[in-house]
Symmetry: C2
Subunit: 320 residues, 2 copies
């Protein structure tokens, strides 16, 4: 029987129960007391390495992720640092109005691994988490870490602000484009450029690869100069071409950031996350403030002209 | 000499000093201690009647406002209720990146009144108010009320959410459209329908008036049934045709709401305003929270795995 207590569930998940893990992730998505209890435990375990994969719909991210999993499991370690025999994937599509917590398409595309005990794939939905997906995903990552996954791939569909934000809350972020990618990403080129640690031109067997590479190179030349210049790799995910080299680039990036920026990077990520939680919590508190007797008293005072909105707000906040 | 103390400025503004009034409105736009002191005084005076005018750019709102001022000053009273010999206009264009506090175009269009001592026209900008224009405008309205204006016209340019929100924080809201208006307002038809107390088809000497009227009527038929059905008037603002009738409709709407809904309406508006101030104030407090030692301690604890973001946020909020 599956328990409903987060402490026991984490214990079972740590020992390999996928059912326990799935329930914990549902807690994370659903918000409320179980989510808080789950987060309290999950954040005490060490964080897994997070590999973000983003890019416009149709760029071939799922197929690429699929192939990356093959390479990772074959190598059985992460650049000689961690040995591991299991990988997890969180699929996130903020624009999808699904309700069941599953992007079926992604699962089907990853069907090579659907029954593989070394691979755990989950499509994230949000059903009540106070901060939405942008908070639920980092929580889910930590739950996977607590369940002994050392590597989590976070795949987001789309190049909107939220998608990019979620994917870039990673240790290494891969941005997947296609030959002739320009139009699909025009809207958020600068945002993608800013978050990419590695660019992949997938479907590189099609025409236009060199133009796309030139385009990316020019953008990188024009952008801020960082110590790490994102490499531009080419893959054909459908037959696996270039995927081993992509993984090598991920390993190289990991050793680069672990030589320095990783602490800073994780600290910055914690800032972002804590600020989001603070914001969400405060909105909840304001919501509660705005429904009490004290609030109605202030409204009455405002209508009577005995206070002003700033003093009224101060009073409510100080008494809260 | 113009004082800098809000109490004295309000006193001077009440006795007709436009320079004092202008300075108070600059306080409101600029935020800070003077804004708080100004609001504290202004909200203690009785609120003026607010007439909102909104619609897409180019609909002829400024010309219409100009003509309305003529009618109002000619009549010298508001439906026999208030007698007054001065009118004020706040021009708001949230999308305009102006910095000097003036939309020159509006002033020029209203030049018939630019030197009229019975008319006070101000283009609102926000230079630091913690809640932006959507809070600065209601504050400015109250300042005008404290300066003995019994009628304030708030004209917003555009049909975006903020423009409509600002214009609809009025006792009577006029939505100005043109023949063949459909495309210009498609994006926010429902929003406009919801806030309109009176529809005006301006430039009614052009083709397409009856189609536009039919279109509006159909929308009203499909919408929620309220006790007040917004009348649809026709004007040609450039020559003043229909403007007296528009003012009559405003008077009629005033007497309708003063027969009942006005208290409820103003209470609802106070709710909106207080919630905005609460939100803005809390964001300021979070901003302060996010730069203190306590915050950095929580970040360090998060990185060490001795807390989670939810507990950390609770701690910071409870200690704030």
């Amino acid at each position: 029987m599956i328990p409903t207590d987060p402490t026991e569930l984490i214990e079972q998940a740590r020992h390999g129960s996928r059912t326990a893990l799935a329930r914990l992730l549902t807690f994370v998505e659903s918000g409320g007391a179980n989510q808080l209890a789950t987060a309290a435990l999950a954040y005490r375990a060490s964080a897994p390495y997070v590999l973000g994969v983003t890019g416009p719909p149709g760029a071939g991210k799922s197929t690429l992720t699929d192939q990356l999993i093959n390479v990772v499991l074959e190598r059985g370690s992460f650049g000689g640092v961690d040995a591991f025999d299991q990988v997890s994937v969180l699929c996130v599509d903020p624009s999808s109005p699904f309700t069941g917590g599953a992007i079926l398409g992604d699962r089907i595309r990853m069907q090579g691994h659907a029954t593989n005990e070394h691979v755990f794939i989950r499509s994230m939905a949000t059903r009540g988490h106070l901060g939405g997906l942008s908070l639920a995903v980092p929580d889910a990552v930590r739950v996977l870490g607590a369940a002994n996954f050392r590597l989590v791939l976070v795949e987001t569909v789309g190049v909107g602000q939220m998608e990019v934000e979620i994917a870039s809350a990673a240790d290494t972020t891969i941005v997947v484009v296609n030959p002739g990618w320009g139009d699909a990403m025009q809207a958020n080129k600068a945002g993608l450029l800013e978050v990419a640690d590695i660019f992949v031109i997938n479907k590189a067997d099609r025409a236009g690869v060199s133009e796309t590479r030139r385009d990316l190179d020019q953008m990188l030349d024009l952008g801020t100069v960082h110590e790490w210049r994102p490499p531009i790799l080419e893959t054909v995910a459908t037959d696996g071409a270039g995927v081993a080299e992509l993984w090598d680039a991920v390993v190289e990036h990991r050793s680069f950031i672990e030589g320095g920026p990783i602490a800073e990077r994780r600290r910055a990520r914690m800032h972002v996350e804590l600020d989001k939680v603070l914001g969400a919590m405060v909105r909840t508190r304001i919501g509660a403030l705005a429904h009490g007797d004290a609030y109605e008293e202030q409204i009455t005072a405002l209508l009577a002209g005995t206070t002003d909105p700033y003093r009224a707000a101060e009073t409510l906040l100080d008494d809260a």
